[in-house]
């Protein structure tokens, strides 16, 4: 039944100044890339990628507004409602994989990176500053290419530039990306150019999470059900990808 199960927070961990991980027991099977609807009672219910997909599940939250702020205040033992997992999740890629994460985009891909053989994964991870890098422990066994917008760590510039370089140097069988949509649009274009299949994980405003309210619609697709992960072919048909999103009211606005 698509109804929240109340779980108690078992562990919290500060990842950066405004990103925190919450761990709890929740027994349903989850694939990397799927998400939960997380109910903070009295406040809101919001979509959150599953950041730890084993039985001791986790979500990793960036504080951006009211609901995430309320969640941030919660401690071990506090109750939250979880329903899901929802969405398709990533298809497990074969061969050599290029992961491209921008900022909190690392959250849904980290558990997938952990599942890929070390020698098969190259991870490009871009953040604004050094302080905003997190999950480094989880991804460090793979080959890492880090960028920061201000050069405080790694390459000084955008992740997409590192990607172009990587694609020139090595052959990849698959690209997996999550991050700001404009960044993902660039990565998609690079993938098409190099004829490498791309999977990108999208975000849209969500209410039901189960494909009926239409609030997460993008050109006839539903991010909650058909996505959040879409392949290059589907992304190619989405005229709004990288350009328009929808507000809570359903109004179409520029990204």
């Amino acid at each position: 039944m698509n109804y929240p199960e109340i779980v108690r927070i078992a562990e919290t961990k500060k990842e950066t100044e405004n990103i925190k991980t919450f761990r709890f027991k929740y027994n349903k099977k989850v694939r990397p890339g799927q998400f939960f609807m997380v109910w903070i009672s009295g406040v809101d219910e919001i979509p959150m990628s599953v950041s730890y997909t084993d039985n001791f599940k986790g979500i990793t939250v960036e504080q951006v507004g009211e609901a995430t702020k309320a969640l941030f205040k919660m401690k071990k033992g506090d109750k939250i409602g979880i329903r899901g997992p929802y969405g398709n999740g990533f298809k497990t890629p074969k061969g050599k994989v290029l992961f491209v994460a921008g900022g909190t985009g690392i959250i849904p891909v980290a558990s997938l990176i952990e599942k890929i053989k070390k020698k098969n994964a190259v991870v490009v991870f871009g953040a604004k500053t050094k302080k905003k890098l997190f999950f480094m422990d989880r991804i460090k066994k793979s080959k890492l290419l880090i960028s920061t917008d201000n050069g405080s760590f790694g390459y000084h510039g955008f992740a997409s530039e590192l990607v172009e370089e990587a694609l020139r140097k090595e052959k990849f069988n698959s690209i997996i990306t999550c991050g700001p949509e404009k960044m993902m649009k660039k990565i998609l274009d690079l993938g098409i150019k190099h004829k490498i299949p791309v999977q990108a994980s999208l975000e849209r405003f969500m209410k039901c999470g189960i494909g009926i309210c239409d609030s997460c619609a993008i050109n006839g697709y539903h991010v909650c059900k058909d996505g959040p992960v879409f392949d290059d072919k589907t992304l190619g048909k989405m005229k709004d990808f990288g350009k328009f999103k929808r507000e809570a009211s359903g109004r179409r606005v520029r990204i």
Partner: protein, 300 residues
């Protein structure tokens, strides 16, 4: 096997219509629903201004249906032209659902809907959970009469009136007929509530919501039967249509077509195709050739 039906001049290739508020906010999705076999599609209820709706949780599953209090979230009529234009590419009838606080709003939004090209207007007078709209308006049969009459004066496309379960359904239905509406849609979801035992609060942020899905079918069938026995304008059945037999039951009760909402959740977006196939199978087994042979057979 002829599945086509007609509602006050509106021709449908089959009697399955997407109900308002399910998958009907964006043009692209409406197109996709048409591709999945619907005979017509209804837009989400649109008002005069953009409306965010309620905070989540707004839609959840309960034992025998769904419970929702989306809160009439909508982009506002002035942002809706492109959605309609996209939906119209489907070539099947697009029904524009309209809500408002008062006669003025209903008339204004209906007029704009018509200008955008919809093939019919559905006046939502029955939202079970939004204060100041919906049920509170639909309750007063004089207000309903007044709104319907004025919308009818303003637009040329057929006007449907969607009503809720109402203590005095017959006098309401008669007033709607008297106001020259082209069809009555019944029923909207029932006012319901689900309390979370763990957190000890109503689970919807709005507390009260609309209960829809299979659990409400007996109420919907009864309402359609009562209305169809008492008015001459067509009735469109809604509430818990999950399969072909449910659709046939509504049609026997007098519905010229059925709307499907929660069915999309239970059976996927191709529920329209599936239900049409099931209706055909039933017709074949029972020796029917045309859908209109079924409509109203159970009315004495």
């Amino acid at each position: 096997m002829k599945l086509s039906t007609e509602i006050s001049g509106l021709k449908l290739r089959n009697p399955t219509i997407l109900a308002s508020g399910i998958l009907g906010e964006t043009g692209g999705t409406l197109l996709n629903v048409a591709r999945n076999g619907a005979g017509a599609v209804t837009t989400k209820s649109i008002g005069i201004k953009p409306k965010k709706g309620n905070k989540n949780p707004t839609v959840l599953e309960t034992e025998y249906g769904l419970i929702n209090a989306v809160g009439l979230a909508n982009p506002g009529i002035d942002n809706y032209e492109n959605e309609i234009k996209t939906a119209l590419k489907s070539k099947i009838p697009v029904i524009g659902s309209v809500f408002g606080k008062n006669k003025k709003e209903f008339v204004l939004v209906s007029k704009k809907m018509e200008n955008f090209g919809v093939n019919a207007i559905e006046l939502n007078m029955s939202c079970p959970h939004a204060r100041g709209y919906g049920v509170e308006i639909g309750e007063d049969k004089k207000i309903v009469y007044d709104i319907v009459k004025n919308v009818k004066k303003t637009v040329d496309v057929p006007v449907f009136v969607k009503i809720s379960v109402h203590t005095n359904i017959l006098s309401l239905a008669k007033n709607i007929e008297f106001a020259k509406a082209d069809a009555i849609v019944a029923i909207n979801s029932l006012r319901g509530m689900k309390i979370d035992l763990d957190l000890k609060i109503p689970v919807l942020s709005n507390k009260i919501g609309g209960y829809s899905g299979p659990g409400i079918k007996p109420v919907g069938v009864r309402t359609v039967y009562e209305i169809a026995s008492n008015v001459k304008i067509p009735v469109i059945g809604c509430g818990g249509v999950m399969n072909g037999k449910d659709a046939v039951e509504y049609m026997m009760a007098g519905a010229s077509a059925v709307q499907i909402g929660s069915g999309v959740y239970y059976r996927g977006v191709d529920v329209f195709k599936k239900i049409c196939d099931e209706i055909k199978l039933w017709m074949k087994k029972n020796g029917y050739k045309r859908i209109d042979e079924i409509i109203g057979v159970a009315l004495k």
